[in-house]
């Protein structure tokens, strides 16, 4: 493939990951923080941005590690441990850099960073990119698209939940249950995008 067509493919993969294959609404990854941190738009935005950034970078790093370390050595089964370590190390690294460079950013983003290590969407994106056999550019596009898609979902959920705060909800349905019903309706809306992009 030429560079141009590969770039186009990466773009299609990116948009597909945001809309038709939204990582949260079609594969349910990252549900725990989604339920816990979707009460305020501002915090949801902060977490979403952090997830999008970390996901893009770790997908790229994991692709390189998988392609140039695990495959030549023939130890692909080792990928779970390697990916987790890379993600944890990267998050730690970013935390240190942000702390040095920008204190305000650290204070607004700081609490979310440790949460990200255990966000299954991050590991999930890396595992999906291995299974689907993406090229490097497509992997970057996929990581970015998945991250943005996750951010889109959690920010819209936070917006909806703010409206819900004033409504009366049956006792058993409060909290996670009503959030999941809303997520289901959002997933229905996202199904509408199916077929718009055939990029997989």
């Amino acid at each position: 493939m030429t560079l141009g067509s590969e770039f186009a493919h990466a773009l299609v993969v990116c948009f597909a990951a945001i809309f038709t294959g939204n990582i949260l609404l079609t594969t349910f990854l990252g549900m725990c923080p989604f339920l816990a941190v979707s009460r305020e738009v501002r915090t949801a935005l902060g977490l979403g941005a952090a997830v999008a950034f970390v996901m893009t970078c770790t997908c790229a790093l994991n692709w390189l590690a998988y392609r140039y370390v695990l495959v030549p050595l023939g130890i692909e089964f080792f990928r779970f441990i390697l990916f987790i370590i890379i993600i944890a190390a990267f998050v730690q690294f970013v935390e240190m850099v942000i702390e040095r460079v920008s204190m305000p950013l650290y204070q607004s983003l700081g609490i979310f960073l440790p949460l990200i290590t255990v966000n299954c969407a991050i590991l999930g994106a890396s595992l999906f990119m291995v299974i689907r056999g993406y090229s490097f550019l497509a992997t970057v596009g996929y990581g970015l698209g998945s991250g943005l898609g996750w951010m889109l979902a959690i920010v819209s959920m936070a917006g909806i939940r703010r409206k819900l705060a004033t409504n009366r909800i049956p006792e058993g349905l409060q909290g996670p249950a009503i959030t999941m019903i809303i997520a289901g309706i959002m997933a229905l809306a996202f199904i509408g995008f199916t077929g718009v992009l055939a990029g997989r």
Partner: protein, 210 residues
């Protein structure tokens, strides 16, 4: 030994009902909802998860005296990853079709918050045998709910159970609810299950989220 003696009966009841991971704590639903559109996949997934939870809790508990507190998270993750890799390799070797069907979700057991949660909250400070039981019954409590969801989704969405057509639901009298096997169906079913069990239990709901 642990400071407070733990009743085995309490462990069983907590895991299965009073403190059920899914509808009480709403943990670990991330990696498993996607496989609940077929009962068979769900059973395999649940068996893997229960095995991993029980064995990880046991191992964490056995090693708890030699694990420095600062790096315990990393140690726990590695222990969990170790068992997940065993399951992944076994599935690939003996049941390749199932391995493909579950895709990345076997690997995602590692980040399932239930396992980490049980290791951190219980196994890290209790003796091996109660930890094993705690892990086992948390895993089973989780499995029961997931199987219930998968049962509804497969029956209503495809009219089959374990791939076999069911009377009435498999016949022409029943229009398959395709939405049930698609992602929104999982959200709706889980929400209804959580709602049902929480109102049965009658205890006050703990805020939102975790």
């Amino acid at each position: 030994m642990s400071a407070t003696p733990v009743q085995k009966r309490d462990l069983v009841l907590d895991g299965l009902w009073r403190n059920n991971p899914v509808f009480r704590q709403v943990l670990g639903i991330c990696s498993a909802l996607a496989v609940t559109n077929l009962l068979l996949n769900t059973l395999v997934m649940c068996a893997s998860l229960t095995f991993t939870t029980a064995m990880s809790c046991l191992t964490v508990s056995l090693l708890r005296r030699w694990t420095p507190r600062r790096i315990r998270m990393m140690v726990q993750t590695l222990i969990i990853a170790f068992y997940v890799i065993i399951i992944d390799i076994l599935l690939q070797a003996f049941w390749p079709a199932m391995s493909t069907a579950l895709g990345p979700f076997v690997g995602l057991i590692i980040t399932n918050c239930i396992i980490m949660g049980r290791c951190e909250a219980f196994a890290g400070s209790h003796a091996p045998v109660p930890s094993l039981l705690d892990g086992l019954f948390s895993g089973l409590g989780y499995s029961v709910v997931l199987c219930l969801i998968a049962f509804c989704r497969e029956l209503l969405g495809m009219g089959t159970l374990l791939g076999r057509p069911m009377p009435f639901f498999g016949s022409e009298l029943w229009n398959n609810w395709v939405i049930m096997v698609m992602p929104p169906g999982a959200f709706f079913t889980l929400a209804l299950v959580v709602w049902f069990f929480r109102s049965r239990q009658g205890a006050p709901a703990q805020g939102g989220g975790k």
